[in-house]
Symmetry: C2
Subunit: 309 residues, 2 copies
Amino acid sequence: LLSLIEAEDPAGQLGLMALYPYTGRAHLVGVTGAPGTGKSTLVNQIALELRKPASDRLADAGRVGVIAVDPSSPFTGGAILGDRIRMREVAQDPAVFIRSMATRGELGGLAPTTGSMAQALDGAGFGHVLIETVGAGQAEVEIARMAQSTVVVEAPGMGDEIQAIKAGILEAADIVVVNKADLPGAEETVRALRTAINLGHPGAGRGGNADPMWVPPVLRTTATTGEGVPDVVEALARHYRHLRETGMLLVRERERARREISARLREQLLARFLRRKGNGTLEDLVEQVAGRRLSPQAAVDQMLDEAGA
Amino acid sequence: LLSLIEAEDPAGQLGLMALYPYTGRAHLVGVTGAPGTGKSTLVNQIALELRKPASDRLADAGRVGVIAVDPSSPFTGGAILGDRIRMREVAQDPAVFIRSMATRGELGGLAPTTGSMAQALDGAGFGHVLIETVGAGQAEVEIARMAQSTVVVEAPGMGDEIQAIKAGILEAADIVVVNKADLPGAEETVRALRTAINLGHPGAGRGGNADPMWVPPVLRTTATTGEGVPDVVEALARHYRHLRETGMLLVRERERARREISARLREQLLARFLRRKGNGTLEDLVEQVAGRRLSPQAAVDQMLDEAGA
């Protein structure tokens, strides 16, 4: 089913339709941050930790799904393999399912099918679905819209903290992790991030959709040794509980549904419209716009006028 | 006109329609890179350099427009002011026009109206339009699609170069600049980037739309002193000449027109469709999807079926 969804085969969406009534039970966790922060290693450790029995957590984690979204860089090609190697510790656990996917030329961002793939894993009974993306800026927002809890990973000395804050990277975070906490400067980074969060809170983030009742914790980890990882898993469980108890889970659910329906409608209305008009009209207008005889909006007005209001 | 365009007032697009026949003469330059690389300072220096008379360049630079796209972070709010302060050197030149714009909650990425604003400056007779964006990953691709020449700014020691390459940041670059070249590690960064470009070339980047005849140069600058900046301006002129002489300029022009017409059609078809259906239908379906009674695609199918094929 995941392969059908990824290939955008209509059978993928048909399968998801059948599975959809069984979704809504997994905790969807996004893990994101700039390159070099050690995200993959952290995801690996979070998956390991989630697999340990823990009486103090809401429920047994059950199976863990990992979706690693790799930029499809022609410079490397081997990025997927690289992630797999880093994931090898969990790869031997049959209750952990790992799927690497490319981003189809959209660097950094999420592939358009990532959300559907997470839904499929949810419907298949995975207790946690971890979605890992590389990126800074745009990717954080995209993942925050798709996941229920978003972990933003930082590392000490990754450039100027003020710049990172300026770039608004924190706005998407439910939990902030300073990884590589054994490196010099970790304490300063933690402090700067805490100050920034306290200054910005509440009303920050998520495009006016912030959760005024949740102050994102700033945690320290050393993913290579696993230090601090139990605290991250505990914070995730706490955030999920918070979302359920405050009703924010349903609020975000509705937004996600609205966004996905709109995005799909947009694509499918365009495809239908262009099919009806024939491709020649579009190409003719492209030529006129490239030749500066028509502005892009004038071209659109012309197509829509012909189609009738 | 820029304010009308930014506010998405229909009068903005009407004004652009009138101006459009005069566009196509400016060199549209994107400048992008991760936070902390010194992009703003470099843009400042490039604008200063472009204003100097230079007999060896294709034409007089004429006026220079700068569009600085700042993430609209509620954490800072003062980002726009910050950029203006850094830009003060050029701000005193009446032939340099600087416009800061927010990103409307889309962190890092370009505001949807950035392209129209660049077109307006082009139509108003600016010889160069510099578009500066913060970001890594997604933003580079967006700007590479909008600009004719894209400068990707790196800095020494900004994390692991292999990671940066993995993230595919280079794919969007026509010119790579290692700024802060006075810092230790600059030479290694230049070398790593050159190797990566040579390995990846040709066929890299721009989603299969690479230019096999152009190998992106890797240049060193110290933007704070201006060192190396004339080489960047020279490389920009060379790239522009290359685009004109090989016909790539028109190829990219057509792609940009096709992409912008499609994006506008997509939005406007959706708005028209939802207006016709009434908002109640969408909200009802959102509720059903959030309640797991319907998958997102099933909701879309239902709306489209009702609308008739």
